[in-house]
Symmetry: D2
Subunit: 337 residues, 4 copies
């Protein structure tokens, strides 16, 4: 362990947690994984091997008591976020919390209340798309006004397949949740309503799922947004957006890289997973968070963003049942201004 590096405790050593452990250990400057909090001893052991400066703890409290961490990266499934966030906030730790903040708006609100007892926001939420170079270029284009007024956002979010644990409501809470964060961030305007349309069912969809769906949103500024949410496309992982402006058009998310001609075909490989599509975004997110913690701040979506998304998700899940559903978010506390 080093004397000046930020000592990060990673909570949860599943796929995502292990990925973050490797990232911090191998590619992030100014941070060290000092603790792995994970009840599964096999996972914990694997993680501590990957992070030579780290110790394993089965419970967060033990890691806190041992004074083993300066900051926390929470990478457990969403339903376990609140029980980690509350004690971590009480300990005054900077936190990077994987999305979602919590699975519902009620628990998210409790987190907000706990955080507001501190002097400033301590939680950054892991909506990593904001750190993707193409999303950033698109946001800059919108914000600059150079392209004129934005009138529509056309989003596609396509996964090759989903695991067995993926349920119908997760089309919203696990997938569209990203658009619920990134769309207002891009457009500079909150979501007013959500509606869901069903496409013809993909015969390759798991029996329990009725998809693809088309999620329609109206933003406060009138911008119309649609999201094609499609989790059984087989062919690859594709996240793209077309921004329709008053006099121009912009698109992100097209495949790039090595181009080949073979067997009568020109081709480019499409991504197969978010791990490659957003690899650089994950790195940038963590590096900027580490840097921001060094300055006593956060640098990315905060807990209020996490709360708003939770409200939108509840509306979205309701919209799976039909109709146009309002997204009612209370006034933003000055604490998050």
């Amino acid at each position: 362990m080093t004397s000046t590096d930020l000592r990060v405790g990673v909570v949860g050593a599943g796929i995502m947690g292990a990925d973050h452990v490797a990232r911090i250990t191998q590619r992030i400057s100014g941070a060290t994984v000092s603790a792995v909090v994970e009840p599964d001893t096999g996972r914990a052991a694997a993680a501590t091997v990957a992070a030579p400066d780290s110790r394993a703890f089965s419970r967060l409290e033990d890691a806190l008591d041992a004074g083993a961490v300066d900051a926390l990266l929470v990478a457990t499934p969403g339903q376990f976020h609140e029980p980690m966030l509350l004690p971590a906030l009480e300990a005054g730790l900077p936190i990077l919390c994987e999305k979602p903040l919590t699975p519902d708006s009620e628990s998210s609100w409790r987190v907000l209340e706990a955080e507001q007892k501190l002097d400033r926001p301590h939680i950054q939420v892991g909506f990593m798309r904001r750190f993707d170079a193409e999303y950033q270029a698109l946001k800059q284009l919108i914000a600059s006004g150079d392209a004129g007024e934005l009138v529509m956002l056309r989003c596609v979010h396509r996964n090759p397949t989903v695991p067995d644990s993926y349920q119908q409501s997760m089309l919203i809470t696990d997938s569209v949740v990203h658009e619920f964060d990134v769309v207002p961030w891009l457009a500079g305007s909150d979501i007013r309503t959500v509606e869901v349309k069903y496409a013809r069912r993909n015969p390759r969809s798991p029996e329990r799922l009725r998809e693809p769906i088309l999620v329609l949103m109206e933003l406060e500024n009138g911008v119309l947004v649609d999201v094609e949410m499609n989790v059984s496309v087989q062919f690859g992982y594709q996240v793209g957006t077309e921004a329709v402006f008053e006099s121009s058009l912009a698109r992100i998310g097209q495949p790039s890289g090595l181009q080949t001609w073979r067997d009568g075909t020109f081709s480019v490989a499409e991504h197969q997973s978010y791990t490659t599509r957003f690899a650089a975004a994950y790195d940038a997110q963590i590096q900027r968070w580490v840097d921001a913690v060094g300055r006593g701040t956060i640098d990315g979506p905060n807990a209020w963003d996490g709360y708003r998304v939770a409200v939108a998700c509840e509306a979205g899940v309701k919209a799976l049942g039909g109709g146009v559903v309002e997204v009612d978010v209370p006034e933003r506390p000055a604490f998050y201004a």
Copy 2:
């Protein structure tokens, strides 16, 4: 005038009619413009100059009485179609009728009734997208089954601007009318419902228009279709479609041609008008119609297709006012099987 060429009378010598006169005279094999029916003497004179074998008539009846035509190409505005089609059918002439067949389903039905007095369909409707190479490739891909089942069609239809005569309902009757024809042709299934969503209004839209709109359709086979209809995009003319299959994706309508790098930018020219985007399609449509007439048949959308589109347009116009509108088409007459 030649002895074996099909003698075509072009009805209407406005922009579209003059364009067809030039096309037949200069690029179509086996046909000659033998008559121009146009009350405006200036336009008529210009057209007959462009077509040296043609005579001008101010009324269709005169051309018919003179025995001057073997077939008719009707290129007047839609409201004048019925009065041309009925006598032409009575005269037993093969007809290529610019879209729409007529402006409403009632008048279209009258045309169908008149046509059914003949031994076989005589009218082909000018939905030229069916003759575009990319649309044909997409249709072939869908029909082949190679790409798996179709689940969605995502259409964009963007015009740089529209003329002063373009009214709100024409978003449907003049523009989406093309998708009302080509979407069922692609998907092999009729339109069941139509719905309209409004985007944020484009500040460059003419005051009388509220657009862009997003037109949602459900087809009989469950395929969900959306059409971004956008007539003030300024940047160019763009007609594209993404077909979402169970395990693959296909897209048509991307710009192609000369690629340039200049001033830090890689670029390709986008079309500015349907006249370039669909130039080859118009040629192919007319050539194939001329060839089909020689075989005593038609080779393209027939009057029944024109009627169905008229019904869909009425539903679409109604949907501009809100709600999901059913598209009720009667049983197809055996005559058009």
Copy 3:
């Protein structure tokens, strides 16, 4: 047969000749195939079936004696061009002669001499690339000066395979011959020298061929040109050019059309043959020639262009043996100014 159509005699009814017969009969306005000159009676019969207004002749002289043709399209192999061109010129017929004009500069010169006995050029040579939309756009860009001075042309000419009859020298005389025509046309400057470099031999090349080769040309204006000539690439047919300007870059020949995503890959079909890559160019070439004949002129490369290319081919064939070879073209006769 019609009274006003140009009556075209097609000489040679092999693959290319049959293709032209179909083209004129089905897609070209203002022309009819009135005669097929072909000693092979089977081919001749097939061609006259495809062109209902045509008669078959086994010898050109018979067709001329019968007064059966207004103009001639010569589509025999190159070594039979001169014996067709000389009597046709004597008969004063307009001629479209497939490339090459003749196989060598000496015989081409004899054709030039015969033609100069007439009042004006009667021969157009079938270098159809000049009629391709992308080549035309590139020429226009160069000629406009908008892109600044041209400094290099980087050409690729790739065939999937070649037939058994294709010999080493045909890399130049059958393939690079196209670049020998189109490069000076693009650059507005003649070829000064030719040199050939050998790449590693493609293991899929037929044993008799040593290729791919890189053909280097210096033009009179100093522009450096290279042509990758590659006839066993298997993957498709690709003809492309990059024009390098003082401050910009332009590229033609990239695949376009239906885009698909499948099995982790974004792809576009590449051409497989010149018949699709240059289909529209062939049509445009013939239509414009027919139109030009109607005006008593030609509209494309003339016999002088054919002669210059013959000289360049001789230099190119010599360059296959090594070294930098000069291309010595005599002064252009005023007749071809």
Copy 4:
């Protein structure tokens, strides 16, 4: 300063050195800039501000005497490399040396001799293209054999402009030097000969330069390589390669990212400088070197690679004067096997 990080001394705090200081400080895991060796006190001060754990030294010897560094990153101009490398080797330090190893093969050989007194290679040379994701994908494709045998490599290397200090020979020694490294690495075969062809001079080239040039190389395995070296293209920075295989084609270096449609044009921004085109490659190079130093090894091109490139550059400079120049490299010492 930390206890486990690799303490890197950066030699030279000009543009490139300062860039590396920022990189190590902000983005590289497991390394700290502990010393900046720079005689210019202003530059040195700026660098130590950017790297809070670092001390400034005006001479390398002082940094070595102070025991301030575990490893050295040499980022001075090439002519100052040898006087830094020799004492650093004597001190047994791991070294990352910016390209070129030294400006000529004689001095490079002296460096090799000094290095061979150590137990293993200590120098890695900063040919960062090997760390670019697209170059790596291309190398993998070639090495896998999946694409068949490689027959040609077609390289373009285009700079918008060059600084006043850029002289004619630097077309080779500063620019093509990259291809001299990366081409054999891609093709798995050394360079046998080098030849230079001159294009028409770009009127925007500085008076002292005669360019663009086309550099032709034959590799030991027969692969033909050309490099368009072009340093006044104005429009952007573009480094691309087409690999021509026996039955397929691959291309890297095409622009990617945000796509826009505006003013009738579809466009994508092209790079303007190597700093953006190869940003990720520079990061990856340094991170992997730091990781490798931790394992007592190097992970990239070694001093022998640097030497071979020096020999090729000398041949290339000679080839600027005309003719085909052999590249004579002695037997590789077993030390670098």
